[in-house]
């Protein structure tokens, strides 16, 4: 058993800094690179892509990234774990193996974790007594069945552990929890078992700290952000994990950013509910048990963590079609920028009403004034306002109303208040609103499968 492993975060979401995983494998020593690509909305986008093309449906960045990092990973024995397989881990793995072949690698084991995609099983599950009730509203999934776009179960760390036991160099999963990606190598390397809840909670919390990339190492830091050095080459966080569950959060020394009590604490409170009950498929972690010790030199120790039994359920993330939306903006300059923007909004709304269009919501925000803090925005002396961007967004189940809204923006330039600009790129087109349906399902009816694909 190793006495320590170093797990590096490479991506916090699909669209994150492309150089980050390359830096993680080249600028210092690590044992694992973990990359989270999936947000709730991502799964539905990927499902749509797969519907059009059976070879699509995964994070397209992965093959290109592998081309750059695989030579380093093989030489330095770095394993890669990612949930970027989306709704098509197999197609993703095939592309990665093709890249490996082109690079002249002789040997590579790529494991995929599947079974999370229950989209095609919905009818069967519902008729077998699994109503997939919405966790917020209590309504059964059957009411949106015809509008469903995707349905995926969140798996935890253990299927990845199985893949590592089979000797995988790369593990590509579908919908796996972000925290499971980081926890899995700890379970595998240190021989933790499914009942070691304190240890599982420790790895889960390390995963929570790593899952949003540089948000734990100085990015988006609301404290003394001006003093963070070298944002341009910000180092993503690395979890140095020990068999007793102790974890030291750090980063590569030559890269920018900062790992401190404050930067880690900010990530700990990010997107959590009840801190005593942080529920994952692997355990329930208690965030109020965490002890944080700033050791200096960009090292923060995280220890003394307590956890409880996992629940009997997996979380399911479904997405469904829920109408159309569109947004558009125009910019008004001094003088009276805000007054003019407000007048333009009134004119626009009058025209939409006169046309008899139907909207579930029309929302207007004045960027430069209140788009972030709404009614909390403080009054401003209008003569000091240089410019205001009016942003109007609409949502409706009626496609035609949303489409017509897009045709009513540009006319405001010649038919409304003066000193206005910023309308380019043509009429905004309606986009499909993909809504999210969270549910629970018994762990007994969904079984993860691990498949090995080799060069």
């Amino acid at each position: 058993m190793k006495d320590k492993i170093r797990i590096a975060s490479g991506q916090g979401f699909w669209g994150d800094l492309i150089e980050a995983p390359y830096w993680q494998v080249t600028k210092g020593d690590i044992d694992y690179l973990v990359m989270d690509y999936l947000a709730e909305v991502t799964m539905s986008i990927l499902q749509k892509q797969k519907n059009k093309n059976p070879f699509a449906g995964f994070a397209k960045d992965i093959p290109g990234l592998m081309r750059r990092i695989l030579p380093f990973c093989t030489r330095k024995n770095i394993k890669v774990i990612t949930n970027g397989g989306g709704v098509n881990p197999e197609a993703c793995a095939k592309e990665v193996l093709n890249v490996a072949k082109e690079l002249g690698l002789k040997k590579l084991k790529v494991a995929i974790v599947v079974g999370d995609d229950i989209f095609s099983r919905i009818n069967e599950l519902v008729s077998n007594g699994h109503p997939l009730k919405n966790m917020d509203t209590g309504e059964p999934v059957s009411i949106i069945k015809d509008k469903l776009l995707s349905a995926n179960v969140y798996f935890g760390a253990f299927p990845i552990v199985e893949a590592l036991k089979l000797g995988a160099d790369i593990v590509i999963t579908g919908r796996t929890t972000d925290t499971g990606l980081t926890l899995a190598p700890m379970i595998y390397e240190f021989g933790w078992n499914e009942k070691d809840f304190d240890l599982l909670a420790a790895g889960t919390i390390a995963g929570h700290i790593l899952e949003c990339g540089a948000q734990a190492s100085g990015g988006n830091f609301l404290g003394d952000w001006q003093s963070i050095e070298n944002f341009a080459e910000i180092g993503f966080p690395i979890a140095e994990a020990f068999p007793d569950g102790k974890v030291i959060i750090t980063k590569h020394e030559s890269l920018g950013g900062r790992v401190s009590f404050e930067t880690v604490a900010e990530q700990l409170v990010y997107e959590i509910g009840d801190p005593k009950n942080y529920i994952t498929p692997d355990c329930v972690a208690d965030f109020t048990s965490i002890k944080l010790e700033d050791m200096g030199n960009n090292r923060v120790m995280v220890y003394d963590i307590k956890g409880l039994d996992a629940t009997e359920f997996y979380k399911v993330s479904c997405s469904f079609m829920d109408g159309y939306s569109s947004s558009a903006s125009l910019t008004y300059s001094w003088p009276q920028a805000l007054t003019k923007a407000k007048a333009a909004d009134k004119i626009l709304r009058q025209r939409l009403e006169n046309l008899g269009l139907k909207f579930d919501e029309i929302r207007t925000e004045f960027i430069g004034y209140n788009s972030c803090h709404g009614p909390l925005a403080k009054e401003m002396d209008e003569d000091l306002i240089n410019e205001i961007m009016m942003r109007v967004a609409v949502r409706s189940s009626d496609f035609n109303s949303v489409e017509r809204f897009g045709k009513e923006i540009a006319p405001l330039i010649l038919t409304g208040p003066p000193a206005v600009t910023g309308f380019a790129g043509g009429r905004p087109k309606p986009s499909e609103v993909v809504a999210y349906w969270p549910a629970l399902i018994s762990k007994k009816v969904v079984v993860p499968q691990v498949k090995m694909m080799e060069l």
């Binding site: 709730e40 909305v41 917020d136 948000q215 988006n220 830091f221 609301l222 404290g223 009590f261 404050e262 604490a265 900010e266 990530q267 700990l268 409170v269 990010y270 997107e271 959590i272 509910g273 009840d274 801190p275 005593k276 965030f287 109020t288 048990s289 965490i290 002890k291 944080l292 829920d322 939306s325 947004s327 919501e361 929302r363 925000e365 960027i367 788009s371 972030c372 803090h373 709404g374 009614p375 909390l376 942003r391 967004a393 609409v394 949502r395 609103v433 993909v434 809504a435 999210y436 969270p438």
Partner: protein
């Protein structure tokens, strides 16, 4: 004495469906006592009037001198349904840190 929250604390906010989470972390124990005393659920609900249309829940995390708030019915439907420019509530922690507190 009036103090601004941003002078004694920092924080981060994000989305959980249509709810926004705001974590506020005090820089020291003195600050933690202040936020624990003054940032009640009622006070937060009133402060975010016109933004938060649901229940506010608060949890204490004394281990990191933090409070976590969940503001239900706050993000205009959340996710891709929301028409808000800040659909994920990313700037709400900053909005809260702008609060002035009158301490005794």
């Amino acid at each position: 004495m009036k103090i601004r929250l941003i002078d004694i604390a920092h924080g981060r906010s994000g989305d959980k469906g249509d709810a926004a989470n705001i974590g506020i972390i005090a820089y020291d124990d003195y600050g933690y006592n202040i936020i624990k005393t003054y940032l009640t659920e009622e006070k937060i609900k009133k402060y975010f009037e016109g933004i938060c249309f649901g229940e506010v829940k608060r949890w204490e995390m004394p281990n990191i001198r933090a409070l976590n708030f969940l503001l239900n019915n706050t993000l205009g439907g959340g996710g891709t349904v929301s028409l808000k420019h800040d659909a994920q509530g990313k700037t709400l922690a900053a909005a809260l840190l702008r609060m002035e507190i009158d301490i005794e």
